[in-house]
């Protein structure tokens, strides 16, 4: 089997490349001004969220608009573990994944009775319901508007109230906020424990997703997207397959939510809002739904754009346009200001529309086109190969 070993080697290289790039992220992203722990953690966490979402949406084609609910459940579960058991992140993450998995089993069981837009609306309704419940009825669990956080009075079993300040999440005694500064190639690299915990989970999440993509199970999920009718007459019960994919992606979301709580031990209901659910859809589509690496790329681009565009303020824009006459300068400033600061989502919207119109396969398709454009051979012809008419 010559072909099999070749594709196995390709996957091995892809995975090794991904793992190395993730571990070197503080160095690789430093030239972009994105090499600091807080942003790197967000890249890794939302990367996990998007990889999981892609297992559902990219493979089966079921578009969920409620995945933020599972992220929120994961966060709440993790914070409760901090409050009641210990500040170690491992049990918190385990409970986060488990709780999100159970909740997604419930939501998926009901929502997957319908497909297409009805499925999307059902998941959206569930997520908004969770959001509103977290705000009101479930206040004893979620602490309502204030959000759930670690407090001095928590009845923690292991490592009770620490003397002085609030305890911080740790992994086997090492504080998640520990950062070592290293000077390399003229950059001051901040190697942060919290980021490397997230990175380890990201690499594991990517590996699992790669295995699923290459497995008979993953192929069946692709067949659900391609032709569900044929699958029914091929002896396959599609619903448990779709439900499994839904639960797996829900657990990925729970993992992401748990990690969010591990880097900053608080959880609020706004994490479950529909905008958060929409964000992961944008990440996956922008990067390239159904591709292995696309969702991570989409997550990085969106979180980076958020970071850049939301940081500008009016004074900075005004000084940027300082070469213009006063009247024009004011007009340009107020027009541009709508797209930055609090209005950064407008920029995101424009970016997203451009991507969907010009690159329906997402950024991964853009990279692929670039690769073939640089090579004189041109477009790949394999899909165009046809049998001559007899």
């Amino acid at each position: 089997m010559r072909g099999s070993s070749a594709s196995g080697r390709y996957d091995g290289l892809l995975f090794a490349g991904f793992a190395i790039a993730t571990l070197l992220a503080p160095l690789l992203l430093a030239p972009f001004g994105a090499g600091y722990p807080d942003l790197l953690q967000r890249f890794a966490i939302y990367g996990i969220f998007a990889i999981g979402f892609n297992i559902l949406f990219g493979l089966t084609g079921y578009l969920s608009f409620g995945h933020a609910a599972f992220l929120g459940v994961g966060s709440y579960a993790a914070v409760w573990m901090f409050k009641l058991l210990s500040m170690n992140v491992i049990p918190a993450i385990l409970l986060a994944v488990l709780a999100a998995g159970l909740f997604s089993l419930l939501v998926g069981f009901v929502s997957l009775r319908r497909s297409g837009i009805y499925f999307s609306i059902l998941t959206l309704a569930f997520a908004q319901m969770s959001y509103n419940l977290a705000y009101s009825v479930l206040t004893p669990i979620t602490n309502g508007e204030t959000g759930l956080k670690v407090e001095l009075s928590d009845p923690r079993i292991f490592g009770g109230p620490a003397g002085g300040g609030l305890p911080v999440p740790e992994i086997f005694g090492v504080d998640m906020h520990t950062t070592t500064d290293v000077a390399l190639f003229g950059f001051n690299l901040q190697l942060n424990v919290g980021f490397y915990v997230c990175a380890a989970f990201l690499i594991a999440a990517f590996y699992l997703s790669m295995r699923i993509f290459r497995s008979p199970f993953g192929m069946t999920l692709k067949a659900i997207k391609s032709n569900q009718n044929r699958l029914n007459y091929t002896g396959i019960n599609t619903r448990p397959y779709a439900l499994t994919a839904f639960v797996i992606s829900g657990m990925y979301a729970g993992l992401a939510g748990g990690l969010l709580a591990c880097t900053d031990p608080l959880a609020g209901a706004e994490r479950m809002q529909w905008t958060a659910s929409g964000e992961v859809v944008l990440m996956t589509i922008l990067g390239g739904a159904g591709t292995l690496f696309g969702p991570v790329l989409g997550a990085i681009v969106i979180k980076y754009a958020e970071n850049i565009f939301s940081s500008f303020n009016k004074a900075e824009i005004s000084s940027f346009y300082s070469f213009l006459p006063d009247g024009l300068r004011d007009a340009m400033t107020s027009m541009t200001a709508a797209f930055v600061g609090d209005g950064w989502q407008l920029t995101l919207g424009v970016l997203f529309m451009l991507a969907v119109i010009f690159l329906p396969g997402g950024l991964m398709e853009g990279l692929r086109r670039l690769a073939f454009w640089r090579r004189p051979g041109g477009e790949p012809e394999e899909t165009a190969a046809r049998r001559p008419a007899e």
Binding site: S215, T234, G235, E390
Partner: protein, 251 residues
Amino acid sequence: MGIVVIKDLNKHFAGLHALRDVNLEVEQGTVHAIIGPNGAGKSTLLNCFVGRLVPETGSITFDGRSLIGLRPYQINQAGVSRVFQTPEIFGDLTLLENVLIPAFAHRDGTYRLNLWASLEGEGDVRDQALQALEDVGMAEFRSVTAETLSRGDKRRLELAMCLVQRPKLLLLDEPTAGMSRADTNATIDLLSEISETGITMVVIEHDMHVVFSLADRVTVMAQGTPIAEGSPGMIKGDPRVQEAYLGAAPA
């Protein structure tokens, strides 16, 4: 007793009596054609058989087992594979993947959480799938995306997808509909090769050329009920059939 026994089957759609007391028996190892004018109930009968529609009364027995109330995927697992009027394939997947999916379904049943195995590692199923593609003469296109195939080749692929499951019964709903003459003849040749392996086939067909080239036995339906049954030769000469069906079409 035939492999398929249908007794007193009835099905209504609103005011329309689509199937009226249908009785039909298909012998093991034969090619049984069902013909009749539009609206005769052929497709309704097929849909009742595969579990898409549920008849109001009557019984359907396949290989000694009642199929009433079973879901389409359960009926497939019982040994019935079907070919659609418009080929139903997995357009975004490669030819090999198209055949691997039914091959896995045949081995693993209706559901299996097989997410740690790799496709390359499943050598047996892979070999079966490649053999099935070979049998319909398409093995060299295994890496081509199925959507790009011509109508006739999609039909070949669909047949490979059915045959890889080693079904006891193959159902064909107008297998040559919309095909060129060349594709039609190639399909007829392929189907007669398949029937020589001893597999039972039920063919619903409009094209008399196809029916008389393939069928061992023919049932003629009109207005929801079988009106005649016999060998192709007998059916050709039956005046009732001439009246109900053949008379309307140029011979």
